[in-house]
């Protein structure tokens, strides 16, 4: 299944490094990344392939959230369908 990882918060060094490292360690492949500054906030959106044997969706999601808290960022991981169903007919 595909999932979207979003990172929102104050720009700082090492955001991509940290997040992608967690994904790498858990065997999760990154399919696409985009990042931009939106309303003065650093915003990174990653599309990942969540077919890891190492970790469950919930565990990974909690790991990312925790890292986010440590860095003062808001990090979410959600199934891709929530975005496609809301914004696409």
């Amino acid at each position: 299944m595909k999932a979207v990882v979003t990172v929102i918060g104050k720009d700082q060094k090492g955001i991509i490094a940290k997040v992608s490292n967690i994904l790498f360690e858990n065997d999760v492949n990154i399919l696409d990344i985009s990042q931009t500054i939106m309303q003065d906030m650093f915003t990174m959106i990653m599309l990942v392939n969540m077919e890891s044997d190492k970790v469950s969706f919930k565990e990974l999601s909690q790991m990312l959230e925790k890292t986010g808290e440590e860095m003062g960022l808001s990090i979410h991981m959600q199934r891709e369908e929530i975005f496609t169903s809301m914004h696409r007919i």
Binding site: M38, T43, K58, R79, F83, S85, M86, H87
Partner: protein
Amino acid sequence: MINPFEVIETIKMIDEENLDIRTITMGISLKSCAGPDIDTVCEKVYNKITTYAKNLVKTGEDIEAQFGIPIINKRISVTPIATLVDALEEPTVEKCVKIAKTLDRAAKTTGVNFIGGYTALVHKDYTKGERILIESIPEALASTDLVCSSVNVGSTRAGINMDAVKQMGQVIKKAAELTVDTQGFACAKLVVFCNAVEDNPFMAGAFLGEGEGECVINVGVSGPGVVKCALEKVKGEDFGVVAETIKKTAFKITRMGQLVAQEASKRLNVPFGIVDLSLAPTPAVGDSVAYILEEMGLEMCGTHGTTAALALLNDAVKKGGIMASGYVGGLSGAFIPVSEDAGMIAAAKDGVLTLEKLEAMTCVCSVGLDMIVIPGDTSAETISAIIADEAAIGMVNTKTTAVRVIPAPGMVEGDVVEFGGLLGTGPVMPVKKYSSAEFINRGGRIPAPLQSLKN
């Protein structure tokens, strides 16, 4: 790749604007549990509910974790229990209460937060079992925690059963008296309907109707905060723009409901029934239907213009939502439960929002007089008369209306009752001092209106 602006919009709706799925409700038919012996019936009811709904709460939580959308309630609705009571050998109030306690126990085992369907449909007349079930409602609600009850006393097709209306006034009074310690909390779990719907996922009025199948998943969405925030961006624009903005927002909200309903249905291997296109408030600041109306330009909810604003809102929610879901049903529209809506609580405390204005508002929105605290010394006949008025609105306008009032024991106008949680805070609202007793005591049935003759 997904558009980043859309991703951020969705996340903002959830994080900041209180977007959530209000409820996943599993409807379970109990028709197969009917029988003459009460103990056997209770055993069958318990086993069936706990088997069918075994994974309901866990599935809800899993979906919540994976999609990142909060699912506030997981609930169960069942076949009107009066059907089981009618099949019993020598039904009694005690036996009815025993079934209620069984439902409560089953609900607790499955981990849901409410079970609805302690219900009788008596819009034309009573059966023996229905009469006994209604009689048992106060005790059933007072002696259980999670059981919700509803009674349908009227319909456009049948007219209004005024005997039932009279009885429900007494039932509500008694339910309040039996739960003095909690300011009449039992009444918060009891709804009196006209034109009740069979697939409503919302409490306290959910039950699984006669025409429904063995098991079904119905979903109720929410999101007043999202609509309010969307309207903030179109300040001063004309009503065409307002309606269009609400429609677009309702579409997005409903798509969430559709997605969650489909996913829950697939995972539980239970057919998907309907999505209820609803705007259901919570007492949380920013999750209020009243604030939407105020955003449209009213200084306070309840002032002149409120009914028009609500009519526009209700219609736009349906128009936006209907394309987002394959099957729409339930009550579908804006809810106006006074104690559950921060803006309405404030307006009621201020005296701007009155019972009369709420009655007018129920003509143009999805339900009726909901979660309204009235003085503890209000007579049973006055409560019946409030029900009759509301049922008449439903009957004539071919819509669902309901009454959920709480005559809080010992409370007078100006007092405030704290229910806590989703049920919120209820300022005691005044009722008319003049008697309706002679009117209510006539009994019989108000004939079905001309609107019923559609064939």
